[in-house]
């Protein structure tokens, strides 16, 4: 369950843009565009609030932008309008460095009910982009991503289509330092296998990579096993397998993996492993976040269930 909107983005506090913001203060604020029901009901949409933003003073200096509900998201309206509008007006946002599309809590739209879109026009439209965040995997496409400045990419999903993983595997991001994907569950289309992830686990795929997060995953144990031979571990500093269904098998595979000894940090918080298994990670001698230990749940059907953090 995604419970909170972004409080901070690109190092700045996030503020909802309103018509009262006639002059922007991009130095210390990341603005969020959010189309609420009242506006949506009046027949207005993302284009209208975006136009208001573009009309505000100082907009040319805007470097961080967060897009929330783009109007009727819960009804199924896709993010096409967002990407089209941004691309059409790119000349007015020459400094845009950080963009998040889909900042909605589960109260606004469940993560797997958000209809995303083809993001590929963004790569060439915003050459200065350094950070891109996306929430929602449904309908998401990246095309053939090539970007010379992107440093941080985050894709949060309740079910990430395997095609997106394939697109990422072919991406050219020479400066990418932070890659974070949420795989979700097969119930919502997140049926990527550990085998499919292997290109992302190779050294050199993203030469500057420091942080690799494969989070919110139902195949966390498989990924932990696949990491035994992963050359990417020879280069990164942080491995993040949090928010998933990691259990004893996965944690024991991680504990036995000597490649992890050179990491700065391993994050597995929100996991289903026992204390005994978690204790074995001590031998790695690195910082480990194993908080939020969960217990499998017998929902009355006699089977034990483990849940990722955000599925719905």
């Amino acid at each position: 369950m995604i419970s909170d909107n972004l409080d901070m983005f690109a190092g700045k506090p996030v503020k909802d843009f309103t018509t009262a913001d006639t002059t922007l203060s991009p130095v210390d604020t990341a603005y969020r565009l959010r189309v609420d029901w009242e506006r949506h009901d009046k027949g207005q949409g993302f284009v209208d609030i975006f136009d208001e933003l573009l009309a505000a003073g100082n907009v040319a200096a805007l470097d961080a932008l967060v897009i929330g509900d783009w109007g009727g998201t819960a009804e199924g309206n896709g993010a096409d309008v967002v990407v089209e509008s941004l691309v059409a007006q790119r000349a007015k946002l020459p400094k845009l460095k950080a963009l998040f599309i889909g900042d909605m809590t589960s109260e606004e739209s469940e993560i797997s009910w958000i209809n995303q879109t083809d993001m590929s026009p963004l790569w060439s439209a915003f050459p200065n982009l350094e950070e891109l965040g996306i929430r929602g995997g449904e309908g998401l496409q990246l095309g053939r991503p090539v970007h010379s400045k992107l440093k941080k990419l985050t894709i949060e999903a309740g079910g990430l289509p395997p095609s997106v993983v394939d697109e990422l595997s072919a991406a050219v991001f020479p400066l990418l330092e932070h890659l974070e994907i949420w795989l979700g569950t097969p119930d919502y289309g997140g049926d990527t296998t550990a085998d499919q992830l292997s290109p992302l686990l190779e050294a050199g795929r993203f030469p500057k990579l420091m942080y690799l997060g494969i989070r919110n995953s139902e195949i966390a144990d498989d990924i932990a096993a696949a990491l035994a031979e992963a050359s990417v571990l020879d280069h990164i500093e942080v491995l993040d397998l949090s928010l998933g269904t990691l259990s004893d098998a996965g944690v024991e595979a991680l504990a036995a993996n000597d490649k992890l000894k050179r990491l700065k940090k391993l994050d597995i918080h929100h996991h289903y492993a026992s204390d005994a298994a978690v204790a074995k990670l001590d031998r790695l001698g690195i910082e480990v976040d194993a908080s939020e230990q969960r217990e499998s749940d017998d929902i009355g059907d006699g089977e034990m269930h483990r849940y990722v953090y955000a599925a719905e």
Binding site: S106, E107, W113, E312
Partner: protein, 402 residues
Amino acid sequence: MTSATARCTATSTPLSSVWDRQFVLGARNDGRVSLYQAALKAAGLPAATLIDYRDAIARPIALAEAVCEASMLRIESPGRDFEVHLALLRHGQLPKGDRLTSIGPDELAAVLPQRGLILCPTQFHKGLEKLLIEIASFLGAPSPALITSDPQDICMMFDKRDCHRLLYESGIPVPRSIAPGTFFHGYDDLRDAMAAARAARVFIKLRYGSSAAGVVAYQARGSRELAITTAEVVRHGDGSVSLYNSRRLRRYEGRSDLRALIDAICRHGAHVEAWYPKASVAGAVCDLRVLMIARKPRHIVLRSSRSPLTNLHLLNHRLDPALLRDRMPSDAWDALLETCRRVAARFPKTLHMGIDVAVRVGFQEHAVLEVNAFGDLLRGVTHEGQSTYEAEIAAIEAGWRP
């Protein structure tokens, strides 16, 4: 209004204080009554005489006599006692042919106590309403006794549909109603209304449900649907369906279960609102219970949940309201309290009410979700050193009068 069978004559003995002959309409063994009595004792005031709901219904003459000699009458919740519920159901027979689920005297006699069974909330409400209006009629207007919660107000607060309309028409921010005033026959009606209102996410509530009983957080887009609810659907061999109030939240995704659930709630009378996107604190969705006493906001509790249903009783966490307040601009918090004052002003003859208020994502806007006539059972919560009951008693001592 029911014509009164008895009417009070002038008080026989002059009273030195409203506390001299105080009666409480309530249920024996109900925690609310004992907490209230304890608060009276702590204030050095005489104990109130309990009129049990069962007796009030079974012996209206005795009720009339008691009420007529009262200096003050406090109307408490009927509580959860099964026998009290049966008595109110007997008292609230629906007219023959009513489209809502009802239960006749013979069937009632055969009903066994079942934890959580949602019986016939409309009939229950009619029973409560009838009793309270009878009491008001005995007393006449102006009432010789001080009544701390106006019977009409209690009935209004218990009717989620009419109360929503009253607040809306008073300019109080509320979630938007889906097809206001419509009688939903069942699932298909609801889906049509949602489509017409462009609402993919709604809260379906029993029109006369109390707290979270029978509340469904429902989202639907084409064939994709999900309901999270306190109601458990139980199908019987004859194809009929019963609803049970469950402490454990249920998820329904399949069309046939959803149809059974929504049809059953509609047969009990449904009120449907657009899902108001509530803000979160500490990783959980939250809302506020604001207890108004003598039109002032007093005890405030922040309730949070990792589910969309924030108003469950025991399983939800109570947090310090400051966690939410500190996230809001101060004028937004002030506006929320002002809304609560305006709600209380709509019920000037009622000493206390518990207002449930949600703050919208973004921490600027708010909406009133419910008004609870018996919303003062907040164990362990104090304001200015007083429990809820102590604060109510003190307000009367300080001169509150309807």
